[in-house]
Point group: C3
Chain length 463, copies 3
């Protein structure tokens, strides 16, 4: 492995680099606040050992899978789908032999960091070292220090949120809380019961009724069922909800129209346009509930999921074939913001995959509405250049305090320190550039750096 350089991601200009180093030294060891992500609750509830290098770094990582597929590797060779390669070592080799494909990508930065800093691997990864490193990783994973709860402590995590179906029983969260000191909180993610296109939507409504004792046969009962579940999540420590929609569209129908739309949707008879309106309406309802119960609302919008029908049919979801689309936020959010956007009790954090909206739409919206905060660069943009573009596009209009700090958004536990480290380095590099060009004093930059590294995330999510 290429040794990680201690100055990585810092500006080339020597004077600016000196400032960046000093800023980074002051924030590098701050605890990690992880208010949004996709770690498996079972890790925290049962603290299992990880299986092997392929399961840790290749097969479940859609960033890694898609890049290898884009260069001609089959899903099967990566352990996915009918006829999948069952030998984890072979899967790992398919990856290691092509590790050059990841040069200059965030995936390589994260994996290099995990291999070196977390697992103590020092050889460069490649076809020739694949087997030896596979074995070294296997040895580590068998040790108790590499189980999830030990890593939580070693990584200096202060709090971590998972993302959980509205129908989840939260048993792993209860187990973790009962047995262990770590702070793992759920996040209310109601796709299964707000998206008419979700698999089993109608059955899910029945399950929701069972779980809550509410009559999901009526619009009012349906909304009550959400209230009951949100309260249950909050009792388990949740401070936030999360909503992943194809567009940012919101609606604010009259109660009668909403009830009528729900009746149609509930019977599985919604047209695509009605399904979209229903999703839009639920966002506004969720915002109203946030005003009542104080849960922070997150909206992740703008991904066209499963672009390849072939890949979806054969290999399923989350295989790297979700592609961003142009996303209009100004018109889309208007109904919701008109309803509750000026309410001081609402906090709504926005995430986009369309960078052209940073300066044009999101910064002006967040720089006006008291309810809005901007989430950090998301998914494809969670990278050096992506973070730079975000800060450069957003700061002059929205300032620092209308941003919501960093979150790692990851399913890959080993990558958590790497991701926070990249974000802290990038933010310090950006601040250092402001200092050298006299847009901030060094003292001001030292005030802002810990906000970006930790404090804004804690504050934005009420953690």
């Amino acid at each position: 492995m290429t040794r990680l350089n201690p100055d990585r991601l810092f500006p080339a200009d020597p004077a600016t680099r000196t400032v960046a180093r000093a800023l980074y030294d002051a924030v590098r060891d701050l605890p990690l606040v992880c208010p949004h992500g996709h770690t498996d609750p079972a890790w925290w509830g049962t603290d299992p050992a990880f299986a092997d290098a392929a399961q840790l770094f290749v097969t479940p990582d859609h960033y890694v899978v898609r890049m290898l597929v884009s260069q001609g590797v089959t899903f099967e060779e990566l352990g996915i789908g009918p006829g999948a390669e069952k030998d984890a070592r072979k899967v790992w080799r398919s990856f290691a032999e092509r590790y050059h494909l990841f040069l200059a990508t965030p995936s390589r930065l994260w994996i290099d960091h995990a291999l070196q800093e977390v697992l103590g691997i020092v050889e460069p990864l490649g076809g020739d070292t694949a087997d030896a490193i596979f074995d070294q990783i296997g040895d580590k994973l068998a040790q108790p220090e590499y189980r999830p709860r030990a890593l939580y402590d070693r990584f200096g995590i202060e709090v971590i949120a998972t993302t959980d179906s509205a129908l989840d029983d939260l048993a792993h969260h209860r187990a973790a809380a009962a047995e262990w000191h770590g702070r793992v909180v759920p996040t209310y993610r109601p796709d299964a019961v707000v998206d008419p296109d979700f698999e089993g939507f109608t059955d899910n409504l029945a399950t929701l009724a069972d779980l809550t004792g509410c009559d999901t046969g009526s619009w009012e009962g349906y909304l009550d069922a959400h209230r009951v579940r949100r309260a249950e999540f909050a009792r388990h420590g949740a401070t936030a909800t999360d909503h992943g929609h194809p567009t940012a569209r919101t609606a604010d129908l009259s109660p009668e129209d909403a009830a009528a739309l729900y009746a149609t949707v509930r019977q599985g008879k919604a047209t695509p346009a009605e399904a979209e309106t229903f999703r839009a309406q639920t966002l506004t309802e969720m915002a109203r509930m946030s005003c009542e119960d104080g849960l922070v609302m997150q909206l992740h919008a703008g991904s066209r999921r499963n672009h390849s029908d072939t890949v979806f049919r054969r290999y399923g979801r989350d295989r790297g074939f979700d592609i961003p689309t142009p996303t209009n936020w100004v018109d889309a959010l208007h109904p919701l913001l008109n309803a509750v956007g000026m309410d001081p009790r609402l906090r709504l954090i926005l995430f986009t995959l369309d960078e052209s909206v940073y300066a044009r739409e999101l910064a002006p919206l967040a720089g006006a509405y008291p309810s809005l905060r901007l989430g950090p660069p998301w998914w494809f943009h969670d990278s050096f250049e992506g973070m730079r573009r975000f800060r450069e596009a957003v700061t002059e209009t929205a300032g620092f305090w209308n941003t919501a700090g960093f979150n790692d958004d990851t399913r890959a536990l080993m990558s958590i320190p790497a991701r926070h480290d990249v974000a802290r380095r990038c933010d310090c590099a950006y601040l250092a550039d402001l200092v050298t060009t006299h847009r901030l004093t060094e003292a001001q930059a030292h005030q802002v750096a810990p906000l970006l590294a930790r404090d804004l995330a804690k504050e934005a999510y009420n953690l």
Copy 2:
């Protein structure tokens, strides 16, 4: 206050900074040409004293108001709306205590500059110094050197344009011209009589008839009324018109269709689509009149005004809730450009809030049509990063001569020197980068710098 650093906004690289300094030294003291802005004509016509620090820097500044509101300050605390705080000192304190919110924003750069360079304040602004600075500012404002006409001279303004309703009587311009040596020229802004959605549109047409003696009951009479008013503006020194439209759409209907549309619009019966087509048609008519009378035409397009209905109803216009939208220029301008875009008598200056069109649409259009020039980065983009993105996106396709120099576009008199200074610094920083990377020689950069600082604006606006 943080002392302004003499090297602010210059590139970090020492060699490049040296070039930037030399370029800036050559243009920093050039007179200020202000061909577009929103200073109050009454300032020039009656030369009043400004009231207090809050009226000068807070309440009327939508950049400042929106940022404070976005962080939970109420409009009332800022002196706006029913129940507004009447104590200017308290309003000022609400701002001063939160001055950190503006770190790394252009507003802070402008206000720091005005406080230090114009008003001679040296303490850092904050909650603890709010009262003392409020008093110091008050003392200054009582002195004759801080009245508008004195500031015009002190700032080194060569000419300044105001923006005036087509229905304005231009009395303040006459008074200024009669009593004083400053050059203050009006700009013909006909929103009130070209936008069917403007408050009192029908009444405005009647007023237009009264003012001009033309029969605004007919399409031809309506066009004649514009001609009469434009000539009156020109007699008062106007060299330009200005058009602020939600989109850049233009139309070129047959005279019969235009007359029929006008008949509908005049009676207040236009659908939203007809209103849009009418605005589109008037742009083409204005372009035709520019060919006749030589007034330079400006188009500012792409803002969704008053995004929050709540804020608009309670607090009115220009409160920081105007949000940019995606703007298509290529299709939108096609009718107008096809009608008169190749006419050597037309000059049309374009302003966008959608930066994605710089390289894709505006630079290719301005780099082809002889009638087009590109206005400087507008509104949210009138900033360090905004100016850099503009030059980097536009120059390679449109060159320097298809841009229209800088204009400050401000309602805030105190900020005028700061804004020109920022633009001059940014342009010199950009040119210095071209020199260090050998895309220009230093001699060429010295030829271009004064064009960007003053000459292109004078030439583009026929001043």
Copy 3:
């Protein structure tokens, strides 16, 4: 002429510049691979002398013409249209006197390079030197060393592709191959027989039938005719096809629907929507044929051709009035990619004029589908800033191996070395920045640099 600086386009930071120089030194003299461009096949087939400086640098160059027209020069003065200036020296003067308009544009960089490096001109070009330089160029062009085949050798071209109508007889390619050692290959460009809006479309179908012996009266016969012609191009060395469409839209109709649509289109009765669907359908058919015959497919989408009707009617095509438009790739490519996007035999190279899609759409698509590669920055974006934006937006998501190297895409033979040199400098500057910020090691950068300079282009186009 301003002497070209040996460090031009390299980063300002001294340490980064040193890395860039070393990278560039290793690739500057690699042979030129030119897999896409618009040189005239007659140059290669008949090796004529070029006429004069105006014909070489002004009249046929739409970059040069549009800039001069945008600043008030008439087409006639540039030797174009009815009443065109016939004196080449006068045309040259009109250009030379206004050479400052091109400061900081790629055109100036290319022309400076051609004048100095290819033609040995050392005086600065301007009004005062116009005549002398016109004569010097004329003297050179009369010498055999300045004929196309000699320049091919002198430039170090390894292979060059032309772009040829599907109806072309390829006689020049046969002549070149028979008489000369250079490798000049055709590219199958079927606009004339796939675009119902193309001049003479119906007649072209008849010509296609004559050329191939296929019955273009039926959909199946029409597809067979393409197959025959593609095979003929391949026999002449072609490895690729090229498709220039107003949008990236593709379709995948049933054979019956496609046949019915073809029947409508063939009779010249297609509506604009049907014409668009037909173009969309042919793209998918071409992709299927690429799976069969191995020709690499190129798609250049997103230009609104001939924006000014006036200019088009009077002066014709390719006069600098083609303007980019917003281009959606995610939805547009879905039908084609669903049909054959996962087929390992397909290679499809994408070119856009809408930079906002780089990070949002194209990099995610190319970083997933094995069939896709990203072409280099095209047309308006074939420039220092354009190349930087491309690499910064694309690399983190798609890596290096999903890009297709450089191509010069030019009609201007003299500019070929300049264009490759700019690309090599820009890529080395980008790589050097990755090295200094420790995103690549210097050794890794040295592995990547020759890929970007030559090898990826050879590999992507099967050359």
